[in-house]
């Protein structure tokens, strides 16, 4: 079958930008999760173009993380978003399972993240062995912290830590994405919608005050 308009020709970052701004209401940080080049060659293990939206079935693809990789994922996700007070940890909201679902998905954006995450898990365990002789999830929390501090911010990462920093950035994006898209996380971050209202009254007075808009009624 002849098919030109091959999506593979598109630069992925360009494609992401296109989709981002083609959507009527967009999330706006540069997103490697929302973005997707769109075109669909039917995806063998995907959920298809007509899935049940009312009662979504679990993602049909197989998970790829090994038990060891899953341990590393859980440990790191809980370092990035630990439990505190009433707020659960990342694993308390099944974020590691989400990350596994995400990187196992048969779509291009997720496949790219898969590579980053799997290589990064290897990197952080290798680094842990190099520094402390153990896998990352077997380190004590201060040891884990020294590694995370070296890779948590790409602009300040040393050259030898850049691979780790790239991984950490993607991993943190996915951890936050997984956490704040749960019903709990959505509320915890301050979203209070998705409830039927009798009327829409616009922003309340405290919001107008916060923004200095008291004198700009609409």
């Amino acid at each position: 079958m002849n098919n030109s308009n091959d999506p593979k020709r598109l630069d992925r970052r360009v494609a992401i930008k296109w989709i981002l701004f083609a959507s009527a209401s967009v999330p706006f940080l540069n997103s490697n999760s929302f973005g997707q080049s769109g075109p669909s060659i039917p995806t063998p293990r995907g959920y298809g173009s007509d899935p049940n939206l009312l009662i979504p079935e679990a993602a049909p693809w197989e998970r790829i993380l090994t038990p060891e990789q899953f341990k590393t994922t859980t440990t790191l996700a809980d370092i990035i978003l630990p439990a505190n007070g009433e707020s659960p940890s990342a694993s308390g909201l099944n974020v590691p399972d989400f990350i596994d679902e995400w990187i196992s998905a048969p779509y291009p954006a997720q496949e790219k993240d898969r590579k980053t995450i799997l290589e990064g898990i290897d990197w952080i365990n290798a680094e842990s062995h190099y520094r402390f002789g153990k896998a990352f999830h077997d380190l004590d929390s201060s040891q884990q912290k020294t590694i995370c501090d070296d890779i948590c911010y790409q602009p300040k990462a040393k050259t030898e830590h850049l691979a780790g920093a790239t991984f950490f950035a993607t991993f943190r994006n996915l951890t936050m994405g997984g956490y704040y898209t749960t019903d709990h996380g959505t509320r915890e971050v301050g979203y209070v919608g998705n409830v039927a209202l009798a009327s829409f009254d616009g922003p309340p007075p405290e919001v107008l005050k916060h923004l200095g808009l008291e004198k700009h009624p609409w």
Binding site: N2, F28, S40, G177, G193, L197
Partner: protein
């Protein structure tokens, strides 16, 4: 019996309509309400928003948390069924290898088409938009003007329900009193934008969207719309009573089970079906229009996608409402010895002047919005406010380097977080993790804003479509090949968008978070991305220069009409759907008249 199987049709219909979206829905509504026997062919499956819309489902319940994938480009819960920029088994091709010269063709294969998920933005074209060439010398004038279409805008707005306000701004027409529904209150991000935009001379006003901010007046509107037809008025009244007002929750893109927004499947088709005058066949993919020896259209040949069997149905009038490009495809595939270059193509204009909307966007982070008190701003599931084009005078005076305008849509960020909402947050936090990151998430959530420009493209000779004889779809139907090239007009307009958005974000004390492109070449989205493709069968004053007359009737084949966006001579910055519906209603009135007179 409204929904019928292929093979169970009546021997002949008054009108066969190919397509069930805004164009097909409106055409069928107008005709069926007046007693015309209509058969509608839809290439996709049957679809019922009342039963199928995921209204309150949360992202947690969806695979990949509702993120965009190639199979659901606008996210898992988007209403689109079997659609997207690529549709399984239905390829299309592009002539050029270069990504900037490719056209992305969106289709939705479902009853109601893309009206099930569209943005519901419903802006009237103004005087300038129909007579652009007379005003500034570029593009193509329509053979009709605003005054010809205005009564139909009134009717469509009354029927579907559009919220908004009358601001009396240049080339931004008011609706008559009592036609529009009340505009919802603006969101915080929109009010803040308005305050600062004012200093730049940029107006921010309520947008018009096809969402019910209150219930429709089912007592009076039906009588006004069908003054001499009590049966039609009664049916419409009953169907209007089935529509509830917006309850200010759940995104419109999922569709609406309470029928608070316009979808063909909740607004046009139910009353049309209730008349008993409309039959619908789904999974019916049109191959070609059949003609007799005199060149008159006699019916439509289609394939039943479920069985692969071909059928032919007969009609006095054939109406293409398949979407601008799909209608071109059907015409060009309907070749015969009498019409060797395709049907209704004696002008050679079928497939020419494909236009999309110019799109570019920019985002920013606004420090003043950090730690905003939590509040619910779901609202009407789309923009409440927008910026209409505001530089008409400057443009006419030659002070800008592009001829046509754009409007600005608002993207506040207090919606449900997406997987990617916090991507890149380390730019602001210095790479925080742990408890600090949770505080940072609360601090920065809702502090981001994006502005999206939607601008007019001038039709050009480089943007057209034709049949690619090398490639066929699953059913053996030859596919379309696209040719695409933005002109400098559009590229400069996109650059102006970026410049404006950056000024706006800066004026608001914010920092632009994406790359500002002063050339416009990187800012401009590819053709087809905004899913506003129109043209391809333009209307005009004569058979030499156009495909249809001002009533969407093809010059070459008197009983063949095209009521989708194909006959558009220009693609104003105003989103095309409302104008498609207004012209479809006008065209259907013309068909009824012609049938009464015996002309058709």
């Amino acid at each position: 019996m409204p929904h019928i199987n292929a093979g169970k049709t009546k021997p002949e219909y008054d009108v066969i309509i190919v397509g069930s979206g805004a164009a097909g829905g409106q055409t069928a509504y107008t005709l069926a309400m007046e007693g015309v026997k209509v058969l509608m062919l839809e290439a996709g499956r049957d679809y019922d928003p009342v039963k199928e819309t995921p209204m309150f489902q949360t992202r947690q319940q969806a695979p990949l948390r509702d993120a965009s994938t190639p199979e659901k480009a606008f996210g898992f819960y988007d209403a689109t069924v079997d659609g997207g920029w690529k549709v399984p088994h239905e390829p299309y091709t592009n002539a050029s290898e270069k990504s900037e010269e490719q056209f992305w063709w969106w289709r939705a294969r479902m009853l109601g088409g893309r009206t099930n998920h569209w943005g519901r933005i419903s802006l009237r074209n103004g005087d300038y938009d129909f007579k652009g060439k007379s005003r500034d010398g570029v593009g193509i004038d329509w053979p009709l003007g605003y005054q010809d279409v205005a009564p139909y805008y009134d009717r469509v707005e009354s029927l579907i329900g559009v919220y908004g306000s009358n601001e009396g701004l240049e080339n931004t027409p008011n609706s008559p009193d009592g036609v529009l529904q009340p505009a919802p209150k603006a969101r915080a991000s929109e009010i803040y934008t308005r305050k600062h935009a004012k200093k730049l001379g940029i107006p921010v006003i309520p947008i018009h969207r096809a969402v019910l901010s209150k219930r429709l007046d089912s007592k009076n509107i039906p009588k006004r719309l069908h003054p001499n037809n009590p049966k039609a008025a009664k049916i419409l009244s009953q169907e209007m009573d089935q529509r509830l007002a917006c309850f200010w929750a759940t995104p419109c893109g999922r569709g609406c089970s309470i029928k608070a927004n316009y979808q063909s499947t909740t607004v046009h088709l139910p009353p049309a079906l209730a008349t008993g005058n409309l039959d619908i066949i789904t999974n019916a993919m049109a191959r070609k229009i059949e003609i007799d020896e005199t060149g008159k259209a006699t019916g439509v040949n289609f394939v039943d996608k479920r069985t692969g069997r071909d059928y032919s149905v007969k009609g006095r009038i054939i109406t293409l409402a398949a979407g601008s490009c799909e209608s071109v495809r059907i015409l060009l595939n309907s070749k015969s010895p009498i019409h060797p270059d395709g049907l209704a193509n004696s002008s050679g204009k079928v497939g020419k002047y494909i236009m999309d909307t110019v799109g570019a966007g920019l985002g920013g982070q606004i420090p003043a919005w950090e730690n905003m008190p939590p509040h619910n701003e779901d609202g009407a599931g789309g923009s409440h406010s927008y910026v209409p084009w505001w530089l008409y005078k400057e443009q006419l005076a030659g002070k800008l380097d592009f001829p046509r305008g754009y409007h600005i849509e608002m993207g506040g960020s207090r919606g449900t977080p997406r997987v990617g909402t916090f991507n890149g947050l380390e730019k602001f936090t210095g790479g925080s993790y742990g408890k600090q990151l949770k505080e940072d998430a609360r601090r920065y959530y809702g502090s981001f804003m994006s502005y999206a420009g939607r601008g007019e493209m001038v039709p050009n000779d480089d943007c057209f479509t034709e049949i690619d004889n090398r490639v066929k779809d699953k059913w053996g139907i030859p596919v379309l090949k696209f040719h695409w090239k933005w002109s400098d007009y559009e590229i400069r307009q996109a650059a102006h968008m970026h410049k404006t958005f950056a000024e706006l974000i800066t004026e608001m004390g914010g920092a632009v978070t994406s790359e500002i492109d002063t050339t416009g070449k990187k800012a401009i989205l590819p053709g087809g991305m905004i899913i506003h493709e129109v043209g391809g069968t333009i209307m005009g004053e004569n058979a030499k220069s156009s495909v249809t007359n001002q009533y969407n009737q093809t010059w070459d084949v008197k009983n063949l009409f095209i009521t989708d966006g194909g006959p558009f001579c220009s693609n104003a910055d105003k989103n095309p759907t409302l104008t498609i519906m207004a012209l479809a209603w006008r065209s259907a009135d013309y068909m009824i008249d012609a049938m009464k007179k015996g002309d058709l």
